[in-house]
Structures are given as C-alpha cells and as structure tokens.
C-alpha cells in the first residue's frame, strides 16, 4: 500500500522524530509513505476568511498531486492535516474557491476535492486496523500510563475534520491500547495549549500548557503524546512539568521494535 505523504515544514527540521519514526513504523506495518515531489508549506494556519484564495493554493497543489498519482494523501503533523483537509473541503463545497483556484491553476483536469485526506492515526485505525497493529507489536509498552493530548487541530471543527467525536475522542486512546499501554483520561486532553501565541505572549502560552501538563500528571500519567510539533514545543518547553512529551510515532516505533 503506497500513500502520498505531505511532511510539512517542521517535520524536516525540529520535528524530525515525528517523521522518521512514522515512516519506519509504516514500513513495519506494510504501507509506504511516498513523499510528494515539490510540496510547498501549507502555511500552518487554515485561512478562515471566506475571501482568502491564494493562501490556500499550496494545499490545493498537494491535493492535486496526490489525485494525479491516484493515492490518498497522508500527513503526520496535526496542523498540515488540519489545513489540507479543510482546504479540500472548500474545493469540494465552496463554488467560489473551486472556480477561482481552478481558473488560476489552469489544470488539465479541474480539481473538485476528490483526494482522500488522512491523518496517520486514521490510517492506523481505518486502513491497518488497531487489532492488526496490536498483533504486530513486538515490544508492548506494558504498564506505561500514557496521556493522549489531542489539542485543537485534529478534532475541530468536527463537521469538517470528521476524525472523531470532538468532545469525547477515542482514537488516540485506542492507539495507546493497541501498543500495549494504558491510556490516561484527563479533562484537558482536547483543550488548547496556547501554542499559537508563544512567539508574542510566552507567559500566556505557558499558563495554558502548564494546566494541561498538571492535569495529565494529576491523573496519573507517566508521559504525554501528541501529533503536533507546536504542541510538543509548548508542552515541553513552556509546560513547566517533569512529565516527558513524545510524538505518538516514537512510541509506535518502540512497540514495533523499529526505534
């Protein structure tokens, strides 16, 4: 099974672990992430203004490239997934965006949102299956208590993201069970860490991040996992906690014995 892969800016640099272990684990599970040629940065924030067109074009290009290869488009970074999935929705449902983007790009075959956009976690759940993943685990993380941090971008807005129940998600907890560990449920797992404002208001970002880390710790977690490099930075550097934070792919690779 070969899937088109959009790594995004951070996975080539500060977020290398998310990428490297994700690819290794994919091979162990029998699918290949084929990096899109000439991908461009998605911009990291979905442009919510209705009249924004140009800022969405890099995502459209990635979507078109995957369609032309006849492949699903997979991302590991929560932000890339969020942006590309929502832009795909616009190309499918917003006639103004569809018309303007297609007019500008002058494609041989117009693009109308055909590509299937999947987050890596969705590949594990819907394509591989958590039961199959469980069978392929060679080093189960038995006894580890892991707090899944969803943050904002994987889940909301749920009518566009359609990944999981936005208020009571289970995909990451099911993942944690599949790799043999015990999920820790805590109230703030889908609340915002404040990472966006870390550049200009570090104190505020730190306050938000600490609340999440403290909540996870108080519920008995021995580590936190995330799929977002910005959450990773904010929780780890600003969270003021001794609880380690890992990318979910790091633990996946560990359980599959490919770390």
């Amino acid at each position: 099974m070969i899937m088109s892969y959009f790594p995004g800016c951070t996975l080539k640099t500060k977020g290398k672990e998310l990428d490297t272990y994700g690819r290794k684990a994919a091979e162990a599970l029998g699918f290949t992430l084929e990096e899109l040629p000439d991908w461009q940065c998605c911009g990291a924030v979905y442009p919510m203004a209705k009249d924004e067109i140009a800022t969405k074009l890099s995502s459209v290009r990635a979507l078109v490239a995957a369609r032309d290869l006849g492949q699903d488009l997979v991302t590991l970074c929560s932000a890339c997934h969020h942006v590309i999935k929502r832009v795909n929705g616009d190309m499918k449902n917003d006639p103004n965006m569809q018309l303007k983007a297609n007019n500008y790009m002058g494609l041989d075959v117009p693009y109308t949102g055909e590509t299937n956009v999947l987050h890596y976690l969705e590949v594990l759940r819907d394509r591989i299956g958590f039961d199959v993943l469980k069978e392929k685990v060679v080093k189960p993380l038995t006894g580890r208590k892991i707090a899944a941090y969803y943050g904002c971008m994987l889940l909301r807005p749920s009518k566009e993201m359609q990944m999981d129940n936005p208020e009571n998600p289970t995909i990451m907890e099911d993942f944690i069970r599949a790799i043999g560990a015990e999920p820790v449920i805590y109230a703030m797992r889908n609340e915002c860490c404040g990472g966006y404002v870390t550049l200009e208001n570090k104190d505020f970002a730190a306050k938000k991040a600490s609340a999440i880390m403290d909540n996870a710790k108080n519920q008995g977690a021995d580590c936190v996992i995330t799929a977002c490099p910005l959450c990773m930075y904010n929780l780890k550097e600003n969270g003021g906690s001794d609880l380690p934070v890992y990318y979910f792919t790091q633990l996946l690779a560990e359980a599959l014995g490919v770390d």
């Binding site: 800016c9 924030v45 203004a49 609340e191 915002c192 966006y196 200009e200 910005l230």
Partner: protein
C-alpha cells in the same frame, strides 16, 4: 458606528451574527477569554451593531488562539472565531498594519522553536 465596514467584516467571516442567541457558550469555552478586553460573545454583538472600529483597535483580537472551540460549541453556527479572524484580516490588510513584521522575528527565536510557530504566526498576523 460603521455599517459599511461591519457588512464587509460579515462577508469576510461568512457567518451571520444576527443568528446569535447570546447564550455565552463561546465565552465560557474560550481559553483566552480572560485576556481579551472583549469576549467572544461581545465580539459577535459588536459586529452585529456595527461597532467594528473598537474591535479593530483592541489588542484581544491577536490573543484569540484559533483553537476552534467556540466554532465547535456554538449552537447557532455563528462561529465567533470566524468573526474575530475577519476583524484581524481587516486590520492586517491595511497598508503597513501587519501585526508581525519579518524583522521582529530573529529576536523571538529560541533553539527549540519549531518552524510551525513562525509560519503560523506569520500566516495569522500579517497580510
């Protein structure tokens, strides 16, 4: 009061503030409500009433985390984050009004900061 500007903001936002039933759920769920001089439900009300210049001059618009909680939890699909984004965009699209300038960035960097933080701040705060 500026009705024309308010209309523009509503068009950019793509939502109708008149649908708001003032339940306050957006403000209750907002992780930044206590650091904004106007709360999300007030934002919606001000745009409806045409008081957009006050909003455009308020610092709070830059504090919204775009976490989508108010969008998710709004029972009337007014989606306050879209209104706030439209106000930010209306400011940033004016000549010389970028909230974040490239020359400010080097001083804000640290060793571990992911590219995503810079990209997203840039996307969110400037034209």
């Amino acid at each position: 009061m500026n009705k024309e500007l308010a209309k523009q903001i509503q068009e950019i936002a793509g939502v109708n503030p008149r649908k708001c039933m003032k339940c306050g759920k957006c403000t209750a769920t907002c992780p930044a409500f206590d650091v904004m001089e106007y709360h999300p439900h007030q934002f919606v009300d001000m745009v409806e009433k045409g008081k957009v210049e006050e909003l455009m001059n308020s610092k709070g618009i830059w504090t919204c985390l775009s976490c989508m909680a108010c969008i998710e939890r709004c029972p009337r699909s007014v989606e306050p984050a879209r209104v706030i984004e439209a106000v930010r965009v209306a400011v940033a699209r004016q000549q010389g009004m970028d909230h974040l300038k490239p020359e400010q960035i080097p001083a804000l960097l640290d060793e571990e900061l992911p590219q995503q933080a810079i990209t997203s701040a840039f996307r969110k705060y400037r034209k």
